[in-house]
């Protein structure tokens, strides 16, 4: 004689099923995120191997992640693991510690040229350059190579450096990391002046507080809804453990914007800007 299934067990099963459906629905209804500012440098590889790293990106609900690394091998490891998810960007640093020296080190040029021959990228960067250093030979060559290969320049620096780059190539496509840590009014002025300039919001908090968008930034987002992207900036290996939380935090403040603007900043702009690369073209 079989024991009858108790009603309570049936009720629990039904609850579990409902809960699974609800959480699946919740995951599906989450705003996708294009994270434009991920690093996977050598000190992250052991603690967060490529499979684990990709699992984190997927858990965060990222539609895509633009990744650059010191050395570039990190980017290639992730791209090989998930070409549907990773948008590779070529960081000119061969190892950690070149952040403040690379722009005066002309051996960087050969390194970047060699990588560009070997792999496909959407951008060169993120690199750090300030003021007139953007006119130094290494940086000039980066601008030329970006033009030659149809790549973006992911530039971490001040508005002066951006101006120098755009003077070298008025058609240069610059993704301005952290929006230069500049005030929203100054960022708006730069976007107005340079129609190909785009800006990421990585490692910034000033555009939102308690889920509400700051009024000055709101004006910037509404005036230039196609020019902003979000990003985590995993500049230390520990910050891989922050990607999921950062994506949710981004969704929270984006929800305070009109839905179409939120979608564009959250993911559509990234898709549009890097579409050629994703389609397998240079």
């Amino acid at each position: 004689m079989r024991s009858p299934v108790p009603l309570s067990a049936l009720a629990i099963s039904a609850l579990c099923l409902a809960s699974t459906i609800a959480s699946t629905h919740a995951a599906e209804s989450k705003l996708p995120i294009f994270d434009a500012h991920i690093h996977y440098s050598h000190d992250a590889w052991d603690g967060t191997p490529p499979k684990a790293a990709i699992a984190i990106l997927r858990k965060a609900g990222l539609k895509r992640a633009m990744v650059s690394s010191s050395s570039d091998d990190g980017t290639q490891k992730l791209y090989a693991e998930a070409p549907d998810l990773v948008v590779p960007s070529l960081r000119p640093y061969r190892k950690r510690g070149e952040l403040s020296t690379w722009v005066r080190d002309e051996t960087v040029i050969a390194h970047v040229e060699e990588r560009l021959k070997k792999y496909r990228y959407a951008a060169i960067g993120e690199f750090h350059v300030y003021g007139a250093d953007a006119d130094l030979p290494v940086m000039r060559r980066m601008v030329q190579l970006a033009k030659q290969h149809g790549l973006w320049l992911h530039l971490h620096g001040d508005s002066d450096a951006v101006e120098h780059v755009i003077r070298q190539d008025p058609d240069a496509r610059v993704l301005w990391a952290h929006s230069g840590f500049d005030r929203p009014e100054a960022v708006r002025a730069m976007l107005k002046k340079h129609r190909k300039l785009h800006a990421d919001l990585a490692y910034r908090n000033d555009h939102t507080s308690g889920g509400k968008v700051d009024p000055a930034w709101r004006e910037a987002f509404l005036e230039f809804p196609d020019r902003f992207l979000v990003g985590t900036d995993t500049f230390t290996p520990e910050r891989w453990h922050y990607i999921v939380e950062h994506a949710d935090w981004s969704r929270a403040w984006l929800a305070d914007l009109p839905p179409d603007v939120a979608e564009r900043i959250g993911w559509r702009n990234g898709e549009t800007l890097f579409a050629a690369m994703m389609a397998g073209k240079r």
Partner: protein, 405 residues
């Protein structure tokens, strides 16, 4: 011709160096003088101890019965789930109320280095992550945390009811008998323990005496301050820019920073530091915005009211006081640096890529020579008393109650 005070100090030091050479001591031919600006900056690290007027958020602050009760409870392991872990198990009086371990060990092994408690009354945020905005709420957490003491209101009430002296001092301090059903009971226990910790003040140090000598323009008294420590002090104020964060009499600005110390936690995961601390604090019923703050004006809660976690807070930890460091090795939030020399080397060889270049960067690798490292260590050692202060002991078991006022 008359010499200025700084010049007289320099001449004295130079003379001292000459004597050292004659006596076969360490060669130090360069006179160490301080400019008026440096002397003013040195003055900002005192006086010691600074003024303190009690904690308005703790009704038991300064109350003798509460202090006696708090001291008793601090050393009483019966507050813990297994009856073997007291506050003093990790906060050992003879070690500056630290335990000498990399990370704390209560009922289970923790992930953070035990902070010392000397001068704790002068802090603004408590714990490596600032997860508490009062000393009393910081004192309650380890009692309840299952990894530390695993205590409870019921256990605490049983302990107090089992001892006429403890129960009497509780009544004297808080005006009612101990009861596990009273929502004030646990906060009151913690407030008593905090009231006792407020009495833990370290004595003046060689640095304090040197600072006073400079302020008094007493060249003879100033001359006893070691030459290496003077050189280290100059690095501390100047090239190292250490005083930017390690400011004031406590040698801490009371805030939080990322100095490039890894913050992984084994076997997997990270310690989010200040970012997690802010979240924990804001969600705690025991924060200063809550019902247990005894400051009716809530003037002490302004800082808490304006807290919001930011990306930079992820992996930030408290800027620790530099006083009494010789008692509290190992160092950093996870005890990862064994000695003061290791700490100075960390700053000397700082990995810049671990620090975000957001705005003006304070931290740069100092690239110190071996001698400069020695000098900075010599200076830091003068921020501790030459001999460990006499540690307080558990109070005698049967003090008359009510406590004397």
């Amino acid at each position: 011709m008359t010499f200025g005070f700084a010049e007289r100090i320099a001449r004295l030091v130079f003379l001292g160096a000459g004597l050292a050479l004659l006596s076969g001591g360490p060669a130090a031919a360069v006179p160490i003088e301080f400019t008026d600006e440096e002397i003013a900056r040195i003055a900002s690290h005192g006086p010691w101890p600074p003024d303190w007027r009690g904690d308005p958020g703790n009704r038991a602050s300064g109350n003798p019965a509460a202090i006696w009760l708090g001291q008793s409870l601090f050393f009483d392991a019966r507050l813990s789930a297994n009856g073997r872990v007291s506050c003093a198990a990790c906060h050992r009086p003879r070690s500056g109320f630290q335990d000498g371990r990399l990370t704390a060990r209560g009922l289970a092994r923790g992930t953070r280095n035990t902070p010392g408690l000397l001068n704790v009354r002068h802090q603004r945020w408590f714990g490596w992550d600032g997860g508490h905005d009062s000393l009393w709420s910081a004192s309650l957490r380890p009692i309840l945390d299952p990894r530390e003491m695993g205590g409870s209101a019921a256990r605490g009430a049983r302990l107090l009811k089992s001892s006429p002296s403890l129960a009497c001092h509780y009544r004297e301090a808080f005006g009612k008998p101990p009861s596990a059903d009273d929502p004030d009971f646990l906060p009151n226990l913690a407030k008593a323990i905090a009231a006792w910790q407020e009495t833990l003040v370290s004595p003046p140090t060689p640095f304090d005496r040197f600072r006073e000598a400079l302020a008094d323009k007493d060249a003879a008294a100033a001359a006893s301050y070691p030459q290496a420590a003077r050189r280290g002090l100059r690095h501390f104020l100047g090239r190292g820019q250490c005083a930017t964060c390690h400011a004031g009499p406590l040698f801490s600005n009371g805030e939080f920073g990322d100095i490039g110390v890894p913050f992984f936690v084994r076997p997997a995961g990270v310690d989010p530091g200040r970012q997690g601390g802010i979240k924990r604090l804001l969600s705690s019923p025991y924060n200063l915005l809550g019902a247990y703050n005894d400051d009716a004006t809530r003037g002490n809660a302004v800082g808490t009211r304006h807290l919001r976690p930011e990306h930079r807070n992820f992996g930030e930890f408290k800027v620790p006081t530099l006083r009494n460091l010789t008692l509290t090795a190992p160092y950093m939030h996870n005890g990862s640096l064994a000695s003061l020399r290791d700490v100075v080397r960390h700053y000397s060889e700082l990995d810049e890529d671990r620090l975000h270049s957001d705005g003006e960067r304070i931290l740069k690798p100092l690239m110190l020579s071996a001698g400069e490292i020695d000098d900075l260590v010599a200076f830091l050692e003068t921020l501790s008393p030459p001999a460990p202060p006499q540690p307080p002991l558990p109070p005698p078991g049967a003090l008359p109650c009510p406590a004397r006022r």
